[in-house]
Structures are given as C-alpha cells and as structure tokens.
C-alpha cells in the first residue's frame, strides 16, 4: 500500500499492516419516530477496500452513511471510522473522511475553482501542496477547462465530478459516497468509477452506496441492504455463485405466452421477461430444461435462441429479499 497520505500525517488511525478494519459498524441503529431506518447493522470494511452498499431507495443507505460521516447521531450501536467512534467523537471522524452527499452539496453560485478552494481551506490544505493536487484532480475529472464556470451551470456528471474533487482535495483516508452516479449518464458514470478505482489503488478506503446492481460488480465486497438490514454480504462473484441453479436466456416466438407457461411449470424458480427474451432460473439444466422445452413447443411456442447466462447481482438481490421475507414470515 503506497499512500502519500501518510506522509503528511493525515492517515492517523492504524499503523501500516494493522489488521483492524477502516470502518467497523457495530449494531448501528437509527430510528425516526416509528420507522427504524437502519436496524442493527454490523459489518467491517478493510483498509484500502472498495465496499458497495447496495439497495433500493428507502433501504437505509443514506442514513447509514450520514451516521458514518458524523452528521447524524445513531439511536443505538456505534461505528468506528478510522478507529474513531461516531458516537463519542463525531467531529474527530470528520478529519479522517470525505463525505459526498447524495444531493449535490456544493455552492451553485460559486465557480468550480471557488468550490474547490473553499473545501481546501476548510481542511486547511497547505498552500504549497495545492497546485499539485489541483492539477491531479483536474487531470482525473477533466474539469480544468471549466474552472471558472459556476457549479450550477455544470451538467449532472460534471457536478458529481466536482463533488468528488472537493471531497478528495484533502486526501482523506476514507471516502464515503452516497450514490455518486445517481442521474449520471453512462459516459460520466465510467469516468467517476475510473476516479474511484484510482483512489482505491492509492490505498484509500471507499464506501459507496448505489441503487443499481450493475455497478456493484466493481466492488471488492458488496453489502445488500433492504429495509434497514443487511441481507447479504460477500464478494460479488461469491454472491452470484451462491445463488445456485442455472439461468437461461430464452428467446421465444411469443414472449408473453411462453412467460405464462414457464411461470406455471414445475421446476422453474423464476421467469422474467426482458424485451423479447425470458430469463428462466431452474435447478438443473440437464434435469429440468428438456421437459420445459417440450412443453413450450407443444403449446406452439418456437424457441429462437436458448443460452445459459450468469445471474446478475439483481437476481441475487431478488432472491435474498424473498429469502428474508420468508424468514420473517416464519417467525
């Protein structure tokens, strides 16, 4: 791990090679009146890791991140961020992190440069180090040519890049990002991910939330969160592998009819239509598929294409939610 951050003493926390996690949540809970937004969440994020907290709106992602960044007090439980407790020393946490809120949090009536300078001042970045850092951030973000543009006049993707620049100007050891790619087009989304991967390569710990599963594959570890609880936590590949069963992409001549037939057939765990293609999850291709194929053909459905596909994290999520609901119902 090479971190220039250590050189200026900003890493604090643990010594190099220390096995203690960069972020450690311990039964972290937050209630708003009747609603338990975050319900006793515990997990660790290791130093230098890219961790994705993935779940739909209202699952508790933002509440969790706010607690980790010291701007929201937990109702119970605690979290150590860079070894500092968010309950006992929320201000201490703020020295170690950079937090990027979901809603654009910069000043729209300040220029790109003025916003960056403002955050550099707040974190007391030494004047001598600023030109080099700024140049690097401009290199990442391609914001250089827009230095004097008002932040409010930037496109959505550029705004997010600017937020990231402001978050990175003080070289935080831990980066907490709340849906940084929300509302950003695919091109800018890629650029944002490139910057994040660079940060991780430099040893920064990154915790990022997202509502969409396709981006989660980029993370070292993924926590799936639903209704304030972690329903699955592992490496993305392991999550997909543990899903079990096989997924086939089937392109029938009559999608709607085929879908109804497949959903009613035994041995089909799930079938969902994607355009003119049905994704069918079955236990075993050898055992289950021949019967299903025959059934479709007998009903007059032609199969234009059948091939096996890897389940996405979205499928993992759906299954985990179903499993969690079933467990809840059983109690």
């Amino acid at each position: 791990m090479t971190t220039e951050g250590q050189a200026d003493g900003r890493m604090g926390g643990w010594a190099d090679g220390d096995p203690r996690p960069a972020i450690s949540l311990r039964a972290l809970t937050r209630k708003f009146k009747d609603l338990t937004a975050v319900d006793g969440i515990s997990f660790d994020v290791q130093p230098g890791e890219l961790f994705g907290l993935v779940g739909p709106d209202g699952a508790g992602k933002t509440t969790t991140l706010r607690m980790l960044s010291g701007v929201l007090r937990p109702t119970s439980g605690d979290a150590l961020v860079g070894g500092t407790s968010v309950v006992r020393d929320p201000e201490g946490v703020k020295h170690r992190i950079a937090y990027m809120s979901q809603r654009f949090g910069l000043y729209t009536d300040l220029t790109v440069r003025e916003n960056i300078d403002f955050y550099a001042d707040l974190y007391r970045v030494p004047a001598a180090e600023r030109p080099a850092r700024l140049e690097r951030l401009y290199h990442f973000s391609a914001l250089g040519p827009f230095e004097n543009r008002l932040a409010g006049k930037l496109s959505g993707g550029m705004k997010q890049k600017l937020s990231l620049c402001c978050a990175l100007i003080h070289r935080p050891e831990i980066l907490l990002l709340d849906e940084p790619t929300f509302g950003v087009d695919p091109i800018s989304r890629r650029d944002l991910w490139l910057i994040l991967h660079e940060m991780v390569a430099e040893g920064v710990t990154v915790l990022v939330t997202m509502a969409y599963m396709d981006e989660a594959e980029r993370c070292d570890h993924v926590g799936l969160i639903n209704r304030g609880r972690i329903i699955a936590l592992d490496r993305p590949a392991a999550l997909q592998k543990n899903l079990g069963g096989h997924m086939l992409a089937v392109r029938p001549s009559n999608g709607r009819q085929a879908l109804d037939l497949l959903r009613a057939a035994p041995g089909v765990r799930r079938a969902a239509l994607f355009g003119d293609t049905i994704h069918v999850t079955i236990e075993s291709r050898e055992r289950d598929w021949p019967g299903l194929e025959a059934g479709l053909r007998n009903a007059g459905v032609d199969l234009l294409d059948v091939h096996e596909i890897e389940p996405g994290l979205e499928d993992v999520f759906i299954q985990q939610v179903a499993a969690a609901d079933a467990a809840e119902a059983a109690v």
């Binding site: 391609a142 695919p186 993305p236 355009g275």
Partner: protein, 312 residues
Amino acid sequence: MSKAVDVTGLTRAFGDFVAVDHVTFDVEEGEIFGFLGPNGAGKTTTIKMLTGLLAPSSGEGHVVGHDIRTESEFIKQRIGYMSQLFSLYGDLTVDENIAFFAGLYEVSGERLEQRREWVLQMSGLTAHRKRMTGELPLGWKQRLALGCAVLHEPPILFLDEPTSGVDPVSRRNFWDLIYTLADRGTTIFVSTHYMEEAEYCHRLALMNRGRLIALDRPATLRSAMAEPILELATDDGPAAAQALQGAPGIIEAAMFGRAVHVVVDDAARATHALPALLKSRGLAVHGITPVRPSLEDVFVSLVRREGGAVIS
C-alpha cells in the same frame, strides 16, 4: 400495420446549435422502445417534438397517425406521460389522485368507475385507496403513477426513467405491468440513462450529438459490438492499465474493481500478446477471460466511436 411513431429527417435547431439532426426511425404498435443517450444528446428535444411540446425545424413525423407539426394539440390529448419525478400529489389519497387525473383527461361517469377499478387492481392498491399517497412505498407510488398516466387509455405511453431508485423486485413488477399494457397494443416509449431499464425494451435507439447512432434489439447490439472486452487479472491492476494505454491493438484499458477491463480490436490476438507485453513491464498476468459486453459497454463504445459525448 400502422406505426405508432414514424419520423423522417426530424431536425431541431436552437440558433446555431443543432440539438436533433435528421433523425429517422419508427416504432411499431405495441412495441417497447428504449431511447438512450448521454446528457445533451438530443433525447429530451426529440421527445418534446414527439409529444407536441416543441415544433421541429424541419423533417416530419407522425405519432399515432397525427402530424406532429400540425396536430400537436391532438397528440397531447392522446398520449400518456409518466416521468421519474411523477406528478402525484402526496397529500391526496390514492382515490383523490385518480379522480384528479381523471378530471384532467376528461374521463368521467361509468368509464371513470371502470378505469378507477382497473387502476386500483393493476397497482394492487385497492385495499389502500383511502391512504395518503405520500405515505406509500416508492414502488407502489410508481404503479399508481403509471395507472394515472394511462387512465384515458392512450395508444402510446412515454416513460422517463420510470423505475429509477426502486428496488429490483418492484422494478420487475412494474415491467410486468408494462408488458401487459404492450400486449394489449399500447406502444411504450422509454427514455432512460439506466441500462437495467434498457434491458427490458424490445428495441433500443441510441442518440449522441443529435444523431441516431444505433437502433436494434439489445441482444443484437451486444453481439454486434465490434470491440471485444477481456478481463485481465494481475497483481497490480493500475500499473497494468497504465502500461496498456496506447499499446497496439488496445483501444482502452481501465480498472474494473480489482481487475482490468481491456477493450481490444482482436480478442484472439490480444489474448496471445497481452501476457508478453505486460511481462516486459514486470507485470504477471494470472488470467485473461473474455467478458460479455454489457449494454453500458455497447453504449460507451458506440459513443466513443461517434466522437465522444458532448462535454458541457
């Protein structure tokens, strides 16, 4: 069979800036048509012209048989529209919202009763009809919004990022409803940034810099993407990505999680050449596996080929 949307040479300029540049395409009745593109690509302008909110500078188009230049008022009455920031009133009950939109679309009497029951049943909100809309989970609100958008049974429905932010379960339920509508002949026109939504469409149109740069089935787009992608496992991803930038046969090399995704011009040749290339820089390769391009890869590749997105 008549087309639900049919545009030829559609163009719209704002001063010197050509937002939409001779766009030609058509949409079948009952088709789910996805409309993609980066910000500033001309998506919004095109949709405004199709929905009668903006007159084209040149070119022509018909939406459900009506001329977009001369019959825009008529078109407005016959389309349904639902945006991601849907316009339900949070402080009205489910019933009151339905009644409000029925009033807007002049649906009344017995037809209103029928449609109300249909919307409630379709959205699964029959038991919650007296609840405040603002209290409902996002997925339910989205279904109600969809119901309100099709209260007047429009032949074509425009959706703007309809399921952004909802959980995957709700999203699938939502799309099931969309498929049901499409099955009954309603044409669905979806504009979105999200590839998850694009996957659900029958055909996708991709816009960039005001032009239509691709139009096909998602699967075809994926397989037609000329440049293969290889996933490279190494000890030092960033160094490998750096070393590969600009190397012969390499179009792009970028970190993807811990791995490096390398876009190459020829998969077989690259698989063969990459280990040696990296070894000469002191980097060991643990594995090279081809990656099935995602729709996002396709999107990025096509946009790059067309000169990149407009940066503004």
